[in-house]
């Protein structure tokens, strides 16, 4: 028992009712999960059908020739690159294309899909908004 709880035991008695009731508390028949997502379906025959697509799979490209390691050396100085924002990505990727098209005369406000403008995010597997992937 810590000093704090020992001191207060004289003033206050009883359990901490506001603490989270996890699977570590309660009897051994009390089966409670910790929020793991299901990986299949529970059939009517009380069996479990595991669905491969519901089990997460890590897709990792080959790391051959990859120079970055888990930790960074203490000797490295602070970087001077500005933080990445949506405006900077736009300015580097989309703005030159729009500028080129405008100078050629082929720019039109209705055809913004050519530069990646997709307000409904249709046809995309990884939608930006609402975000449908876990990062």
């Amino acid at each position: 028992m810590g000093v704090l709880s020992t001191l207060l035991r004289g003033l206050v008695r009883g359990a901490d009712r506001m603490a989270e009731f996890t699977s570590k508390r309660g009897s051994r028949t009390h089966n409670k999960g910790r929020g793991a997502r299901p990986t299949g379906l529970r059939l009517s025959s009380r069996k479990f059908l595991s669905i491969r697509t519901m089990i997460p799979e890590f897709v990792v490209p080959s790391l051959e020739g990859f120079k970055l390691k888990p930790y960074v050396s203490y000797r490295s100085p602070r970087g001077v690159e500005p933080p990445l924002t949506a405006e900077s990505v736009f300015a580097e990727v989309v703005a030159p294309q729009i500028k080129k098209d405008f100078e050629e005369g082929t720019f039109s406000k209705e055809k913004l899909e050519r530069y990646g403008f997709n307000p409904k995010q249709e046809g995309k597997l990884f939608k930006l908004y609402p975000k449908n992937y876990v990062r």
Partner: protein, 216 residues
């Protein structure tokens, strides 16, 4: 509610308005023994010094101008802004027993006493004599401490890390990325997300799309 609320309260130090600050941190048992709740102690008057005018920093070399160790120079270990105190390393000491239990007296150690700011003067690094110091701006616009007698700039003391690591002398381990690799700019901005780029590189084709979920 009681225990969790109290644990969160202990994280932030809340002291009463006329709390008498000592050398012990307010949450320690020794400080609580000296400042029990409801106990009114005689008020100490502290000369108000603005935050911008504070010249003594932790790690500085200072000289004592009055007291038992008058004329000695030492390094500042701790600074107490509430009471304009400064603790030097190994100076202005008195002796006491520590770790007294039962019959044993414990060990006899030298413990430092705090010194007021007016008994302290910063040491000029060029001639190693005490000087008055003022905050001035350099031509670059940097705010530095300048000694009034000689005009030399007193640099800020090097802050040592608590874990004792000196970044210049660090030897990279097998899991450390070297500074050159860390600062290398390899990012090519594109509108693709990381997942889309990896899929493209590995040649994974996914034509199935989510069927859309509905809430009623």
């Amino acid at each position: 509610m009681r225990l969790t609320a109290l644990l969160s309260m202990a994280a932030k130090v809340v002291v009463p308005k006329d709390y008498r600050f000592g050398t012990n941190r307010p949450w320690t048992a020794a400080a609580k023994r000296l400042n029990t709740a409801g106990k009114k102690r005689r008020k100490v008057f502290v000369e108000p010094i603005a935050a911008e005018d504070w010249s003594v920093l932790k790690g500085d070399m200072v000289e004592i101008l009055s007291g038992k160790d008058k004329g000695k120079q030492g390094r500042v270990n701790q600074v107490f802004r509430h009471r304009n105190w400064v603790m030097l390393q190994g100076l202005n000491t008195h002796f006491r027993y520590i770790g007294k239990t039962g019959e044993t007296r414990g060990s006899y150690v030298a413990s430092e006493a705090p010194l007021l700011l007016k008994d302290i003067a910063l040491v000029d690094p060029s001639d190693r004599k005490p000087t008055e110091v003022e905050w001035k701006f350099t031509e670059e616009g940097e705010r530095v401490r300048v000694s009034l007698r000689t005009g030399r700039i007193i640099p800020k003391p090097v802050v040592e890390r608590r874990d004792g690591i000196v970044p210049e002398q660090w030897k990279d381990g097998p899991k450390d990325t070297s500074p050159e690799d860390t600062l290398e700019k390899t990012y090519a901005p594109s509108l693709k997300t990381l997942e889309e780029e990896v899929m493209e590189k590995m040649g994974i084709v996914e034509n199935r799309r989510h069927k859309g979920s509905y809430w009623y």
